[in-house]
Symmetry: C2
Subunit: 219 residues, 2 copies
DNA sequence: AATATTTGTTAGATTAGTCTAACTTTTTAT
DNA sequence: ATAAAAAGTTAGACTAATCTAACAAATATT
């Protein structure tokens, strides 16, 4: 098992890989908020135990071993988030930071028990998929709300980023995962949407927000 | 907030202080399984932020600040143990190692919620007292089972050490916190005790075990 | 009281993780 | 195609936490 710091490097590389395939050192260092030389020397060390493949000036790559390790950290993170919301009663906007620490806890028993108590969940409180015990992640392909058209009915399933600000905003609008919305109108000048859902007959959502909400069309 | 390592030094000093008042560097280094020079240089560093009072060749001392910090770590540890047993269904012999990692998690919200869900417990699953939110620990004065006499009826309330081996042993004998036992006989040659409890009419407990069990007399 | 033992200290080295400054390679833009 | 910009690398230094070897002080033993 790598150190906590190394786990964070693997996790960051995992996210970068899932986003755009090529992992750039600069992106990694920005994501982890360290200097590029720091990230550079760390990936060289990670190579020694075959977590990553490193070649000078080439994009970074995770090995299978490194990818699996990263996925299992993400699994611990997302199970924890689910546990904190479903069992302990936290709001979805409160759980990220706690999970960020708990994901480094070394105890299969703990996370297996969470998994069990939660009934083997497949997504976290923000709709992000939970990798399985062998590190396999099956992610569904949702659409950005911003790409939908007037008249469609959609269900909120996930979001591109789960920043506290976005989650608090959605709380204030009473929008949750699973909330179904009718797209009443799209303002052409700023791409903002007027939607209706539950008991809210007409709510305006800015383009910035719509870009970050992932939905599926309701038949 | 000190680092995780420093928190472990404070916690160790706290235990040593509660056991015999004078904190010796050698004892500290043994408890933490580091060399004496390592412990020595660390207490010097801890002094810089006024966690401890250090004077060459003198016994170590915790400052009020250091003692409170240590107590709050112990609080997190014991709340976690309680949470793992009562809410998550772990056995009392399984929780120490997990709590040892969770005690370093930095989240008042998490531990406050545990406290709440548990109904503000005052002892952990092994009968050890839980310091309150301001770091005050009120510990009851139990007797060692080994110091009791024939004919007395006692209730198991705590133990001097909660090693997995002892806990597993007690599990196998079906002895729990709260179990009331009648001391039927004390063998003079080895101080072992014959006790009866629940549906066990006569059980032999070695002196080694009796020394580690803390009880109170039942009137 | 003198000596032996234990306890504590200093010095110097090592590893993990970080930085800045300077430099090189690759990519982008004119 | 060359210059400018971006990305990546190397060198060297720093802090936290650890070690061993050597030494000093305090305590215990005869």
């Amino acid at each position: 098992m790598p150190t906590q710091t190394k786990e964070n490097y693997l996790k960051a590389m995992y996210f970068l890989e899932r986003k755009g395939s090529k992992i750039a050192l600069t992106d990694l260092s920005k994501l982890l908020d360290v200097s590029t030389p720091t990230a550079n020397s760390m990936v060289k060390k990670l190579q020694e135990d075959e977590w990553v493949i490193y070649q000078k000036y080439k994009p970074l790559q995770l090995t299978e071993k490194g990818r699996k390790a990263a996925a299992l950290i993400v699994r611990k993170h997302r199970l924890t988030e689910m546990f904190l919301t479903k069992i302990m009663g936290f709001g979805w906007e409160e759980v990220h930071d706690i999970a960020e620490e708990m994901e480094h806890i070394n105890s299969d028993a703990l996370f297996d028990r969470m998994d069990e108590l939660l009934g083997n969940p497949t997504v976290d409180p923000h709709g992000s998929p939970i990798p399985d015990k062998s590190g396999v992640l099956v992610s569904r392909n949702y659409e950005h709300l911003s790409d939908m058209s007037e008249g469609q009915r959609v269900r909120l399933c996930s979001m591109t980023d789960s920043s506290t600000e976005l989650l608090v905003f959605l709380n204030s609008k009473n929008i949750k995962l699973g909330t179904e919305m009718d797209i009443l109108k799209i303002e052409s000048f700023d791409q903002s949407m007027i939607v209706s859902y539950n008991h809210h007959p007409s709510m305006m959502l800015s383009h910035e927000v719509c870009k970050r909400l992932l939905v599926e069309v309701v038949n």
